[in-house]
Every structure is written in C-alpha cells, then in structure tokens.
Amino acid sequence: MDPPEERLLIEAAQRDLTRFADLYDLYFDRIYAYVARRVGDRAEAEDLVSDVFHQALANLRRFEWRGAPFSAWLFRMAANRIADRSERLGRERAIEPSPEFEEADQEEAHDRAKVFALVRELPEDQRKVLELRFAEEKSLHEVAEVLGRSEGAIKQLQLRGLENLRARIGGKHG
C-alpha cells in the first residue's frame, strides 16, 4: 500500500475509531506471522497479538504520522510484548536484535502473511482442512471427526487445498 493511502486510512480511523477494522485487516496477518514465529505456543501468540491490537486501538489517536509506516509501530509494540513475556517467564530479557535482523524478520513476516491471505481465498472446505490439519496439527482422524466427513474426503481436500494454494502462490509470483 502507498504511504499516502495508508495515511488516509490512519487518519480516518483516528476520526472514527470503528474504522480501525480497515487497519486491522491490513496488518493482522503480518503481525501474527511475526509473533507466531517468535513465540512457539499458539495460545500465547494469540494473547500477544490480541494485546498488540488492543493497545494500538487504545493509543491510535496518539499515533503521529512521521513518515515511518504504521506497521513499524505495530511491530515495535509486538517486539516489546514479546520481550515483556520472556521477562515474565523468568528468562533473561533477550538482547535487542540488530536492526538488520529485525528488518529481515519483518520482511519474512510480510511474505508469510501473503500466503495466509491466499489460504483465506481457497474454497471454504479446503481452507478449513488446511487450518485444522496444519495450523492446529490435528490428525486426519481428528479433522474428519470435527468436520463430520470421511477420512478419504479429508485426504482429497488436503491434496486439493495444497495444490490449489501452490498454484495461487505461483500465480502471484510468476
């Protein structure tokens, strides 16, 4: 997104907080990818991501546009929450990563966010199977039970879902 466009979205949300949803849609996947990579546990990753966006909403009107992208502000808050968490867990506070490392991490999160968005465009039943089977790491049997389908049907959906996703990723990059 162009900086001027992003700026308009931020200003609109600052005037009317209910428009914050637009910013959320734009940045959710990136922030989630960034946090999930650093925090292995799903429940904790979800808590942290939730904290970051609640904090962003509460402080949105304080955000000043100084040319740095809005995402940098969100990543900053995410990094702080992650550091707080390791401190809370009694681990040594991680050494601040170098700016280059941090930048590479954010870019990587951006790439993975694009894949998440493509998963969301898949037909509903394929998307659900990929989510349960790979994100939630459920067995074939468990997925079949949750969705009320046969194991054969789940095998077919996981194959089609992954093939479909691969084709879409190919389409985007090539």
Binding site: A36, R37, L159, L162
Partner: protein, 322 residues
C-alpha cells in the same frame, strides 16, 4: 499420477514428517509437504474474526454508546407485533421471567401501542399493531440457565413443541417451541463458562429468510454489518446458519426450510447517523417505510424494508433526550 495415488502419497509423507525434521524427498509431494509445513504458524480464522469483532465492539463503545442508545438497549432489539400483546407479556413473564419496563396503551385503552420487556441482559419491544403494522411474529434464540424448565413452562402456557429438549453437537442443550402468538423460541443453555456463548446475549434475533446470502450482502452494504460465521452443509448449498454483527449486537440467520418458513421480522436498530444509514439502505435495494424524522418520543427514526421482507427501524437518540 492418479489423484487417488497422490492423495495417499501425500498423506503418508505428511504422517512420516515430524516437525523439525527435514522434509522427505520426492518431487511434487515434497513440495506440498514443505508448503504444509509453512502453514504451521497460520492464524486460526476463528481467532482472526473474533479479535476483529472485539476491537470493533470496543471502538463502538468508546465512540458512540452514550449518545445513540437508550439505557438498557443494545444496537439491535427485536420488535414483535402480536395480536394480544398483553397476553404475550404475561406469557413472557411466566415462561422466561420477563420484567415489564414500559406499557403505552392506545387512547381507548383496548390495545398496547408500544411496550418493552427485559429478559436477562436484553430488551424486546412489542405492540398489538394496527392496519399499517400487521402482526409480525419473530424467531428468538434465548439463552437461559434452565432450558428444560423454560421449555416445560412454555408448553404449560399453551406453546406447541417444535423440537424436544436435547443435547446439540455444538455444545448446547436446547429445545424449541412456537408460542400461542406464532413466535418461535429456541431455548438453549450453552455449556461453557457462562450459559450464554461469548458474543451473544440472553435474547438473540434469528432471521429465517429466503435468500440468506443476499440478505447478508445487503446488511454489509447498508449497515456496515460484519460477517462472523457462515455455515453451509454443502459448499454450494444454502446457508444453514450465519452470525452477523450489527454495531454491538450479533444477529443470527439461516435459509428458511420446512417448519422454519420465511418469517420476516421487525428490528429496532440504533445507529450513530440515521439519515446516512437510511440513504445507504435505499441505495442497497431496501424500500422505504418512513423517511428520517424526529419522533415525539425523543428519537430520530426511519424505517426500511429489506428484500427478504424484514423491517428495520433505524434510530438514534436525540441529544436533548440523551
């Protein structure tokens, strides 16, 4: 390679692969396993939409709650028109423990022009109706601590059973009745931290419509509604159940079928700007019932009818009154 072979090969490769170990070799299948692996840190869709809803609710509460709602009300309130409104109120008191908050009789005292009852954390508005507003029963999903008791009291008070009480696969104990006035009540107890599932309230409007997908599209365009969940039995089949957020309230809906035929309902919907929402609704295909106007009871209100026949009374509290 035939699809069936690829299905089996992929699944075997996925089962053999343990996180942290290198992806097993094997051309195309290898590529798919590697892709599957990159999805391990994918967000759950439920989490993404739930957090979105929470943020929106919080933004709404910060921005407008105090100025647009009447005390005790939420964004959406069912408005039921029943012949015998007084008897209906007695039924709701007896069966659901409703608390009567307001009753405005017609000048000759024979009928109720407008009444409000509270059940749990929710309000229901109702009236006897007149020629302009004929009877319009509704479907209500109501969460109570004791489903069995309420179901039995409903039958004792003259309701007929639509569905006996039983455990539902989605974590609720539930049974349903049609009251003597034609309204459907889906009585339920949610098994969880509270008897009401997160995001819902004691009283929830359930719209049975012909054309649920079109209605959802309309609600998005006209009212900025947010789709929370849509459930279909078959990918191309009708929508069996959907939850949609309007302001701070979740409304349920599903395609009409069998004894759950189309049941156009009436809803009172508080918005920050009546005139703007009215215009958007008309542009999105609604017909006008009444153009925006200040009402003597302290609201600016307007009415529109969506293509499925539901009547929406959009309103905002006039400041002098708030």
């Amino acid at each position: 390679m035939a699809e069936r072979d690829r299905m089996e090969q992929l699944n075997d490769a996925l089962d053999r692969w343990t996180p942290g170990e290198p992806v097993p070799p094997g051309g195309e299948i290898r590529e798919l396993v590697s892709l599957a692996r990159s999805l391990r840190q994918m967000p759950r869709e439920f989490f993404r939409t739930q957090l979105r809803g929470q943020l929106k609710e919080r933004a709404m509460a910060t921005t407008s709650a105090a100025t647009t709602f009447r005390k005790g009300f939420h964004s959406v309130t069912p408005y039921i028109i029943v012949p015998g409104a007084a008897q209906f109120i007695d039924f709701a008191k007896e069966v659901f423990g409703a608390d009567e908050k307001l009753r405005v009789p017609t000048p000759d005292g024979s009928r109720i022009m407008h009444a409000e009852i509270q059940i749990g954390d929710s309000m229901i508005e109702l009236s006897d109706g007149n020629e302009q507003y004929p009877p319009r029963p509704a479907s209500i999903h109501i969460y109570l601590q004791d489903t069995d008791g309420a179901y039995q009291r409903a039958l004792d008070a003259g309701a007929t059973s639509l569905h006996a009480v039983e455990e539902m696969p989605y974590g609720e104990r539930s049974g349903s009745v049609q009251d003597p006035f034609g309204n459907h009540w889906y009585i339920a107890t949610h098994h969880g931290a509270s008897h009401i599932p997160q995001g819902l309230r004691t009283v929830n409007s359930f719209l049975h419509v012909a054309g649920t997908a079109q209605l959802i599209e309309f609600l998005k365009q006209a009212f900025d509604a947010e789709e929370i969940s849509v459930y279909r039995e078959d990918a191309d089949g009708p929508i069996r159940h959907a939850t949609i957020r309007l302001g701070d309230t979740v409304v349920e809906m599903g395609e009409a079928h069998g004894q759950y035929g189309p049941m156009p309902s009436g809803l009172h919907y508080y918005v920050p700007d009546v005139d703007a929402v009215y215009e958007r609704a008309i542009r999105a295909g609604a017909t006008s019932i009444s153009a925006p106007a200040d009402q003597p009871y302290g609201e600016r209100g307007a009415g529109v009818r969506d293509r499925a026949g539901n009547s929406w009374f959009i309103a905002t509290l006039l400041r002098a009154n708030g």
